[in-house]
């Protein structure tokens, strides 16, 4: 599927041509994918409509399993949204130049993932027309009597993250949109001209652009830690066995980065193949991504081991019983699947051949995504199903409604991403050029943009 031609060093003109080509009229394959995604999304929306009409029982919500799939998927999508900011901001500050070929797609992925995640509190709340209660506006109506609730912190953390990530994304796009504007005609040109905010590429504009970009990178960096830490505290602050753990914040952040990188590869590898971007997304980029997945996977394994160790070390009977139940009873298959996907499967990336093979990377990434979804499932469902009191124990069985909505959320995410790659440059023209040798005078390939 994903064979590649040997990459040659592209020129500045090649970069413009190849990136702008990705915005050309879509082919049949693209439309076919769009149709599939739209149909699945429509099915998900239908299921959601049914849930609103007939009530939350349609989603299998019964005590003690009130969180189940929706909060699992909410945490999953928030986690996916981490890698974009990490690649854009932290790797930028670390001067990791290999990020240039993938960061645009990763940033877009971040925003779409957070937008997808944002649907789930609404879906989960049932009466989403009261969703404005969640918005951070002055508290005269005493809608938030408890500012100590981590669920309120979530609203602040995630809305801040979405705002900064979106602004960062838009700022980074400006010079590239100007390039698209210059190559467009008609109504497209007018729209891109509006989005380019009058960019002309003057020295002054570049100076301000660079300064703003560095500033946003610095602002976005702490958010990588804060968002998923706050999400983790939704669980860790409670005393439910299996939740109340000091490990949770860094454990969630690492897992989020791990799954985010996997999703970046799931998106970037087909893009590389179908848009023939082998000259820009080279083996060294795949190698670097593979290494990051391996390292974050090892750190995650360390946290899993620390969690098991602490449970056994603590001597707490409830914690031990919860762990024993997870490992051996109703949801044991989900736990062992998670260990396989998150701890064992990335180990193949110790081999460079595996790290530079798109097929292996793709398979590992899919496994990691499955594993990370199940990680959240294993935190939420078995823990709630086997807490302190036997009379409150209960099994959760997915229903057609909540399964359809969760699958629909994937369709929504891919629909946004498929739309993005045809509307905006999915590769940064500016930053890719910065990694290339500068064009010399009188060379035929020199481009002036």
């Amino acid at each position: 599927m994903m064979s590649q031609s040997p990459p040659t060093t592209p020129t500045f003109a090649d970069v413009n041509r190849d990136v702008l080509r990705t915005l050309g009229p879509p082919g049949n394959l693209y439309f076919a994918w769009m149709c599939v995604v739209a149909l699945v999304l429509a099915w998900g929306i239908l299921a959601w409509t049914g849930q609103i009409w007939w009530g939350m029982g349609m989603a299998g919500k019964r005590v003690p399993q009130q969180w189940a799939m929706y909060i699992t998927t909410f945490v999953f999508w928030i986690g996916i949204g981490h890698a974009g900011t990490l690649i854009s901001a932290i790797l930028y500050l670390f001067r990791a130049r290999w990020r240039t070929s993938i960061y645009r797609a990763a940033e877009a992925m971040t925003i779409f993932a957070v937008l997808t995640a944002g649907l789930f509190p609404l879906i989960h709340a049932g009466r989403m027309w009261f969703a404005y209660f969640l918005l951070p506006y002055p508290n005269q109506r005493d809608l938030w009597p408890n500012f100590r609730s981590p669920l309120v912190w979530d609203v602040f953390a995630i809305s801040t993250y979405l705002t900064i990530s979106t602004v960062f994304f838009i700022v980074g796009l400006i010079p590239d949109i100007a390039a698209v504007r210059d190559a467009s005609t008609g109504w497209r040109r007018r729209i891109y001209a509006m989005l380019a905010l009058g960019w002309e590429g003057s020295d002054s504009q570049w100076r301000h652009y660079r300064r703003a970009y560095g500033l946003f990178a610095a602002l976005a960096t702490p958010l990588v830690l804060s968002v998923h830490s706050v999400v983790s505290w939704d669980f860790a602050m409670a005393l439910v066995p299996g939740w109340h753990s000091t490990l949770f914040a860094p454990f969630f952040v690492d897992g989020a980065i791990f799954s985010g990188f996997a999703m970046v590869l799931v998106l970037v590898l087909p893009m590389r193949h179908f848009f023939k971007l082998h000259a820009y997304i080279q083996e060294k980029h795949l190698d670097a991504m593979g290494k990051l997945i391996l390292v974050t996977g090892l750190v995650l394994t360390y946290f899993y081991l620390s969690e098991i160790f602490t449970t056994l070390y603590s001597g707490d009977e409830f914690d031990k019983a919860s762990l024993f139940w997870k490992v051996t009873k109703s949801y044991a298959w989900a736990l062992w699947l998670m260990y396989f996907c998150n701890c064992i499967s990335p180990l193949i990336l110790f081999w460079k051949k595996a790290r530079t093979s798109p097929v292996v990377l793709y398979v590992v990434s899919i496994l990691v995504l499955i594993g990370m979804w199940f990680e959240r499932f294993n935190i939420i469902v078995p823990s709630l199903g086997h807490a302190f009191y036997p009379w409150a124990w209960g099994i959760y069985v997915p229903t057609l409604t909540d399964t359809s909505i969760v699958i629909g959320s994937f369709a929504w995410f891919f629909l946004l991403f498929l739309g993005f790659i045809k509307v905006l440059p999915s590769l940064s023209i500016v930053e890719v050029k910065e990694t290339l040798p500068p064009p010399l005078k009188d060379r035929p390939h020199a481009s002036h943009h």
Binding site: R95, R148, G214, A218, P222, L225, S229, W233, A236, M237, L239, H244, S245, T246, L247, F248, A249, P250, L298, Y302, F303, S306, E307, F309, T310, L312, Y313, S314, G315, F350
Partner: protein
């Protein structure tokens, strides 16, 4: 100077031995333990940082990587001191004399000392193999086989480093109060040790330049400072992740540890000093250093790095002392200071031994970013 440092070592040893034999044995052993984990952490994390630079192909300063290796000189001494800690087991660890049945599978004397000593020995052995591999000047940088070997050693070293230093946190420190537990304590121990070593690396880097042993450009010193800044934030993040969850949960078995240290004197003052001196001041200064041109003078950097070192040492005291004795006083007596000075002198002497034994060339060509 060697004689002076040797005398300080001897003085420290006498102070410790007399203390351990006196009625204040718990205090002497507490100082010993706090020093042991502090200096051993510095010694092993130097090579670990070099291993990270090896694996990330960091080309920004080969000299800094060499300097990081030089802390390994203390490792053989550290191993001997770990063996010596065995003699203080009954004084330090209450579960030795009063076993806790629910935890006996983990907290029992043979297994505890086996994993402590074997872990340290294995880690130090791999660290020395890595150090030797990196100090081979004759091997060209692009020699694939040698590069592969170095990478493999770096991977093993880093995995062992995380595992063993975490165990120092869980076993040597957390089990001083065997009823208290925090799942992140091992990771916190790794990160705080990492921060301390970056502080030391800043000082050694500036010092190597000042003594003419190396000519590290200001931009590379700036990069060390930036790393120090990043890991300072990570350290505070790991601390806060534990503190907030324990405070919020308000479970007595967990909060007791925090109440002793953050709400009772004299430890409350120490905790504030650690926070302000070890984090707030370095954060404020290093934040300023993130932007603009790298300065030519590095005195403020050395000062905040010293602050970081002192603060983490005090933090080690803070986590060790109240667990060993609820009525413990601050270790500011002459004996306590002498023991700590002895460890410092040992560290300096062993680093000198490393220089004379391995003769590392620090002034490597700087290849840029």
């Amino acid at each position: 100077m060697t004689i002076v440092w040797s005398l300080i070592v001897a003085l420290g040893a006498i102070a410790f031995l007399t203390g351990a034999a006196s009625g204040e044995a718990a205090r002497a052993w507490s100082v010993y333990l706090a020093n042991l984990v502090f200096w051993s952490g510095l010694a092993i994390t130097g090579p670990a940082i070099a291993a990270m630079m090896q694996l990330t192909e960091a080309r920004w300063s080969p000299s800094v990587r060499r300097i990081a290796l030089t802390t390994a000189g203390f490792l053989p001494v550290s191993l001997v001191l770990f063996v010596g800690l065995y003699a203080g087991r009954t004084v330090l660890y209450p579960w030795v004399t009063t076993p806790i049945p629910a935890k006996a599978a983990w907290l029992n004397t043979p297994f505890f000392w086996f994993r402590t000593l074997a872990g340290a020995a294995l880690l130090f052995l791999v660290a020395f193999m890595f150090v030797r591999a990196l100090l081979k000047d004759t091997v060209p940088a692009d020699h694939e086989r040698e590069r592969g070997r170095r990478n493999r050693l770096a991977v093993i070293l880093l995995m062992l480093w995380v595992a063993v230093v975490s165990l120092w946190g869980f076993d040597l420190v957390m089990s001083l109060d065997p009823r208290w537990y925090s799942g992140l304590f091992g990771g916190y121990f790794v990160v705080s040790t990492f921060y301390t070593t970056l502080c030391l690396l800043s000082i050694l880097t500036v010092g190597a330049n000042a003594r003419g042993q190396a000519s590290i450009p200001p931009a590379a010193v700036q990069d060390v400072a930036k790393l120090q800044f990043a890991i300072a934030i990570l350290w505070m993040y790991f601390f806060w992740s534990q503190y907030l969850v324990i405070w919020y949960g308000n479970v007595p078995v967990e909060t007791r540890f925090l109440v002793q240290r953050f709400f009772a004197q004299p430890w409350q003052t120490v905790a504030w000093v650690v926070f302000v001196v070890g984090w707030l001041i370095p954060f404020a200064y290093l934040l300023k250093r993130l932007t603009g041109r790298p300065p030519q003078r590095h005195t403020p950097l050395v000062i905040v790095a010293l602050f970081g070192l002192v603060a983490i040492f005090l933090e080690r005291v803070l986590v060790v002392f109240p667990s060993v004795s609820a009525t413990a006083r601050l270790p500011l007596g002459a004996r306590d200071v002498a023991i700590t000075a002895g460890f410092l002198a040992l560290f300096i002497l062993s680093r000198r031994w490393f220089f004379s034994r391995f003769k590392p060339v620090l002034n490597l060509p700087h290849t840029g970013h």
